[in-house]
C-alpha cells in the first residue's frame, strides 16, 4: 500500500513528481468537471493495487495553473505518466480503467 492519491500543487509539483524516485501518474482535474469526478474512484482503485511501485497524484488545475500550462493541458481530466522527470505517455478524458491501467503497466 502507498500513501493514497497525493495532492499536487504548483509548489510541490517538481519535488513530488518530476524529481520523484518512482514513476508518477498525475491526474489533472477540477471540481467543476463531471468526467474528472467519474474517474476519481478509478485512480483510487489503481492506487490500492499499484501504489507500492508508482506514485498516484492529482492536481487541481483551478488552484495550480502553472503545472498544467507547462504541459499544454487544454482538457480535463488529463492523466500524465511521468518517469525521471519526463512524460512517458498521457490520456485525455474519462477513459476506461483498463486504459489507465495500460499506462501503469508501461513502467512496472
Amino acid at each position: 500500500m502507498g500513501q493514497g492519491v497525493l495532492d499536487i500543487d504548483d509548489n510541490n509539483f517538481e519535488s513530488e513528481i518530476l524529481k520523484a524516485d518512482k514513476p508518477a501518474l498525475l491526474d489533472f482535474w477540477a471540481p467543476w468537471c463531471g468526467p474528472c469526478k467519474a474517474i476519481a474512484p478509478v485512480m483510487d482503485e489503481l492506487q490500492e493495487t499499484y501504489g507500492d511501485s508508482i506514485i498516484f497524484a492529482r492536481c487541481n488545475v483551478d488552484n495550480s495553473p502553472n503545472a498544467p500550462a507547462q504541459y499544454g493541458i487544454r482538457a480535463i481530466p488529463t492523466i500524465i505518466l511521468f518517469q525521471n522527470g519526463n512524460v512517458v505517455d498521457q490520456v485525455v478524458g474519462a477513459v476506461p480503467k483498463s486504459h489507465i491501467e495500460g499506462l501503469v503497466k508501461k513502467v512496472l
Binding site: 469526478k37 474512484p41 487544454r74 482538457a75 476506461p96
Partner: protein
Amino acid sequence: MPDKLYDVAIIGCGPAGLQAAIHAASKKSKVIVFGKARKSGLYKAHIANYCCYEKVVLGKEILEVGRKQAETFDAIFLEEDIVRTRKENDLFSLNTESGENFTSRTLILSMGVARNKLRVKGEKELVGRGVSYCVDCDANFYRGLEVAVVGNESAAATGAMTLLSFAKTVYLICRKLMVTDMLYKDLRSSRVKVIEDTWVKEIIGTNEVEGVFLKNGETVKVDGIFVELGAKGALELAANLGVIFDAESFSFIETNKKQETNIPGLYAAGDISGKPWQIAKAVGEGCVAGINASEYAKKLASS
C-alpha cells in the same frame, strides 16, 4: 417551498422514462418528464421483438401511446433538454435549456446513450490539444482565444453561450439548430457567431488545433473546437452529482436491482444503465425505478 417542486423528475422520454412516469404518476406522485421523443433510440425503430406485440410496430407510435398513458395519470411533459443538475440538501435542482429551474425529491435518469464523437479527420489526433468534449470542464483553458462549438442542439447552443464568458470569439457550427424558441432567441441576441447549413469536415492542426475545415469549403481559424452533439449526456449531467459509472467505459451508470444509484434519491433506467439496449429491458427498469422513486419521495415528503 419552491413552486416547482416535484416528487419524481425524469430526464428522457424513451420507453424507460415513460414506464417510470406511468408507475410513479399512478401512485399519485407529482411527476415531470423532460426530453424530446424524437431523441429516443426507439423513435425511428421498427419493433418486432417486444413481448405481446405480434406485428411489427413503429417505435414512434409506442412512444406517443406511452406519453398519453402517463398523461392520463397527470404526469407533466416538458419538451426541453436539461442542461444542469445539482443536489442541494435532499432535493435535485434541474435547469432546462430555456433557463427554467425545477426541483424534485427524486430524479430518474433515462436519457439513453448517444454518440459524442464527430468521427472526422484530426479529431482523435488532437483530443486534449484543442479538441474538447466538455465546455463546462475546459472553457477556462480558452481565455481570450478563438473557439468553435459544433452541434445542432441544446448542448452546443448553451455551450457556445457559456464560452462567451471565456473566449474572445465563439463560433457555433451547425446544420440546423434544434433548440427551444427561448434558447434560440438568447443565442441569436448573443455574440455567438452562428455558421449554419454546414458541418465540420476536418479538424486542422499539427500539434494543436489551428482551425476547422467545413463542408461548405470555408476554413475557420480557431484555437479550440468543442464537440457538443445532441443533449447533455450522463457524464455531463450525472457525474457532478457523484454518480458511480462503470469503470470500463464510463458510459453506464451503476445501479442495484431497485435501479438505485449510489446517490440517495437518484435512479437510472434503460440504455443508460447498461446493455442489452432493448425496449423490454428499458420498460422493466423504468417500472422498477418509477415505483421505487415514488416510494422514496413519499418517505422524504413525510420526514
